[in-house]
């Protein structure tokens, strides 16, 4: 029984069902159409250290904007509700704004709406600040929406704060293949994945609200990439009611996320989850799974890829409700079989895959273990088709050396 793979089918069906009655996007007929040329010229002419101020207003942008290889640029609007760049009539470009190879880049106080593809992609940068930015698909959750809202990748020293991501058909706030990351005090809602950290090292995710997504906060490690991730701390977040049907595109990694997932760790290592409030996530509050449960169990992964989640510490969190109505018939059947018609999954669910090659005398070395404080753990026993699914909390009482806080220096201390 492959629970997560099964949910791909469920997701596709619900995505289809969602079509037909979707709310409409923001009416942009009164938006300014002339400013876009000015903005494009400002980006083309940007000198190192330049501040590009975008005034309050609502602006149509028909082509993907880009900034390439200029350091020290700041793009600043008059507020996330005052300066709106609408891509509702975008004719060209896989992103709304693509920033590449530009260090010391800041974007703040503006909104990017309704891009065809990814909204804000920042690649190969160092010292990146995204602050007070709202990215939204104004028609609400839809498979037709662009994939990523806020998307820094292959960057170092990344701060995302006080920002809002709504409606992404993949991830609202997605940090990929990066080092030294702080994601704090943001709101991610009505995305497939609210906040996702993938193949990244040293990320602190705190003070955020992740609600009404399919999955609230995800930490993933994918194969075939130049680098593996390690070291993500998820703490002091409110992660609730992430029960939106999965509207991701089949084939994407997030399409296999069951609706009702609070926090999902897939194949990631070195992860701490503590002091969060997790509330009413209908499948489960914290799901810990290997790559084998993500729908590609037969993938020929590279030899240096580690498909197992290891060195995980689920510390004290507040858990309320949830787990009583999991996504997908097989998970429902498992819930009923184990806990009765009105029963709930416990707060933590583990797929049960462990790397026997790493075991010493039949047990995982202490530093690689999955440690869970206080609450019960469901071992779903997927390696054996759930035949011995069981409550297994007692086998997860352990402690790990704590990860160090991420220190971005003045970048994160400025306010």
């Amino acid at each position: 029984m492959d629970v997560l793979r099964f949910t791909i089918i469920a997701a596709a069906a619900s995505g289809l069902a969602a079509c037909g009655s979707e709310p409409e996007s923001r009416d942009v007929s009164g938006f300014d159409r002339d400013y876009q040329t000015t903005l494009m010229e400002l980006l083309l002419d940007a000198e190192p250290g330049q501040v590009i101020e975008i005034p309050a207003g609502q602006f149509i942008i028909e082509r993907g904007l880009s900034l390439a290889d200029v350091d020290g640029v700041t793009i600043r609007g008059a507020g996330a509700d005052e300066t709106i760049l609408s891509f509702a009539e975008q004719r060209q470009g896989a992103e709304g704004l693509l920033v590449s190879g530009s260090d010391d880049f800041t974007i703040e106080n503006l909104a990017i709406e309704d891009t065809i593809g990814d909204a804000l992609k920042i690649t190969d940068g160092e010292n990146i600040v995204i602050r007070g930015v709202r990215v939204e698909w104004t028609n609400g959750p839809s498979t037709e929406n662009g994939a990523y809202a806020i998307y820094p990748v292959q960057s170092r020293n990344v701060l995302i704060e006080n920002s809002i991501a709504i409606g992404a058909s993949d991830a609202g706030i997605y940090v990929g293949q990066s080092d030294e990351i702080i994601v704090r005090n943001n709101i991610a809602e009505y995305n497939v994945a609210g906040i996702e950290i993938e193949n990244s090292r040293n990320a602190d995710v705190y003070g955020n609200i992740a609600r009404h997504n399919t999955g609230g906060v995800l930490v993933f490690d994918m194969p075939h990439l130049p680098r593996a991730g390690f070291g993500t701390r998820v703490f002091n977040n409110e992660i609730y009611e992430n029960n939106t049907d999965n509207f991701g595109h089949a084939g994407t990694p997030v399409a296999s996320v069951p609706a009702g997932t609070g926090m999902l760790i897939n194949a990631g290592d070195g992860i701490e989850v503590f002091d969060n409030v997790l509330r009413n996530n209908r499948t489960g509050h914290v799901i810990i799974s290997s790559f084998f449960s993500s729908g590609w169990s037969d993938v020929d992964t590279t030899s240096d890829y580690d498909p197992y989640p290891e060195s995980i510490w689920i510390g004290p969190n507040v858990y309320e409700g949830g787990g009583g109505n999991p996504d997908g018939l097989e998970l429902q059947a498992l819930r009923v079989a184990m806990f009765g018609p009105t029963g709930r999954f416990p707060p933590v669910i583990w797929d049960g895959y462990a790397d026997s090659a790493k075991m010493v005398d039949g047990a995982m070395p202490e530093r690689l273990r999955i440690c869970v404080e206080e609450v019960e753990v469901l071992n779903a026993d997927l390696p054996n088709d759930a035949s011995e699914a069981r409550l297994d909390g007692d086998n997860h009482r352990c402690t790990l050396d704590r990860l160090a806080p991420v220190d971005l220096g003045p970048l994160a201390g400025a306010r």
């Binding site: 596709a12 040329t37 494009m40 010229e41 980006l43 083309l44 082509r63 993907g64 880009s66 900034l67 390439a68 290889d69 975008q90 004719r91 060209q92 470009g93 896989a94 693509l98 590449s100 190879g101 065809i116 593809g117 990814d118 690649t123 190969d124 498979t143 662009g146 994939a147 990523y148 998307y151 990748v153 292959q154 058909s169 993949d170 997605y174 990929g176 293949q177 993938e198 994918m222 194969p223 075939h224 990439l225 130049p226 595109h249 089949a250 084939g251 994407t252 990694p253 729908g295 590609w296 169990s297 037969d298 993938v299 020929d300 992964t301 590279t302």
Partner: protein, 383 residues
């Protein structure tokens, strides 16, 4: 529209009667900045129904070309006297001296007299005699310039005027509305995109790790290693460049790498099919999809020396493809192009699905068929 047509007709008439083509212009070193008009570079001059190459400006062609909405391309290279020669490299783009200018003029055969109605079935170089491009049957769209400055390469494009006599700097790019007519006389609207200067970087920053910014893509040994019909003679380009002092350090052409030359059609032999497909993928995809390129975030590496394994897409799940998956699970499913993300993204023209992301607004049907045929010819499957 009517006024415009009359003007165009007058220009054509002038071209056919009195005006003689210009003499080859003298190329100029433009050490900084961007002149407002293309003619200021002295690389090309239009008039009298011809686009004439400047003195010592050498035309060239590639074995397999990047698809650009069926546009034909006239490529030239020029190195100032005394600047030295480009240094040969077996795999990377040649290292050109400061002052070098590379141009690429995008044009279409016209379908009748209308400048906006153009044909998708033109043949590369059929309007070019080695010295000049015959303008009586084609429409010039843009000329892109790459110039090697002291601190690296710079890029910008010039958009040709409707009178086809001059091109103006288009740093912010442009859309050109065209009607593209296929070999079977089917017409489709085309939003032809002239890239802005930052968009040049999206393809031409081929190494995101060394901080050297924009650089050429085409002038590599494997793409250039072919015969070219120069004025009055046909000869191998690498040999001619060496002879003319444009290139230093190159071996004899037989000893240099060579990509398959492919224009259209599905090669019958398995080896030829693979060679054509790999050559097509090299020139169309690998400037981003390499271990140093902008698409290295995907873990998909498509340079010709990469092994045919997971990082070439074989049974590889997508990373951040979004809608680009087309509900497919793997980049390449051997034996099944329909199930392969590769083929799906090549066939699409949606901005968030299509590959390449930039540089086309139409589907390269022949290219998509080539890659699909190659994938379908493989044995296997995934899982």
């Amino acid at each position: 529209m009517r006024i415009w047509l009359a003007a165009a007709a007058a220009a054509l008439l002038a071209a056919c009667t009195a005006e003689a083509p210009p003499d080859p212009p003298a190329p100029r070193v433009v050490a900084e900045g961007w002149p407002q008009v293309l003619s200021a570079w002295g690389q090309l001059a239009a008039g009298g129904g011809e686009l004439v190459l400047g003195e010592q400006v050498t035309p060239y062609d590639l074995n397999t070309a990047l698809f650009s909405d069926y546009a034909l391309k006239l490529r030239t290279v020029w190195i100032p006297d005394g600047a030295g020669a480009a240094q040969y490299d077996e795999t990377a783009a040649f290292d050109f001296p400061v002052g070098s200018v590379i141009t690429k003029t995008f044009y279409y055969p016209r379908d009748g007299g209308d400048l906006t109605r153009v044909r998708a079935d033109g043949a590369s170089m059929e309007h070019f005699d080695g010295r000049a491009l015959d303008l009586t049957e084609v429409r010039l769209v843009e000329t892109r310039i790459l110039v090697r400055r002291e601190d690296g390469w710079d890029a910008a494009s010039y958009l040709w005027n409707d009178d086809q006599r001059e091109a103006r700097l288009a740093r912010t790019g442009a859309f050109v509305d065209l009607t593209l007519v296929s070999a079977g006389d089917e017409a489709q609207g085309l939003d032809y995109l002239v890239p802005n200067t930052n968009q040049c970087a999206n393809c031409h920053v081929t190494d995101t790790t060394d901080g050297r910014g924009v650089r050429p893509i085409g002038p590599k040994a494997r793409h250039l290693n072919r015969d070219f019909e120069y004025f009055g003679r046909t000869a191998n380009q690498i040999a001619v460049w060496t002879e003319a002092g444009l290139l230093e350090g190159a071996p004899a052409p037989e000893a240099a790498p060579q990509s398959a030359a492919w224009i259209s059609g599905i090669p019958m032999g398995a080896l030829e099919l693979e060679a054509a497909a790999r050559s097509y993928i090299d020139i169309n995809c690998a400037h981003c999809h390499s271990r140093t390129g902008q698409a290295d975030t995907s873990g998909l590496y498509l340079e010709p020396w990469e092994p045919f394994g997971p990082n070439f897409g074989v049974c590889k799940p997508p990373i951040a493809a979004g809608r680009g998956t087309g509900n497919r699970s793997f980049g390449i499913v051997p034996g099944n192009a329909d199930a392969s993300i590769f083929a799906f993204r090549m066939a699409s023209t949606r901005a968030d699905i299509m590959m390449p992301e930039l540089g086309r607004a139409s589907t390269h049907e022949e290219g998509a068929e080539l890659i699909s045929a190659w994938i379908d010819s493989m044995a296997g499957g995934c899982g």
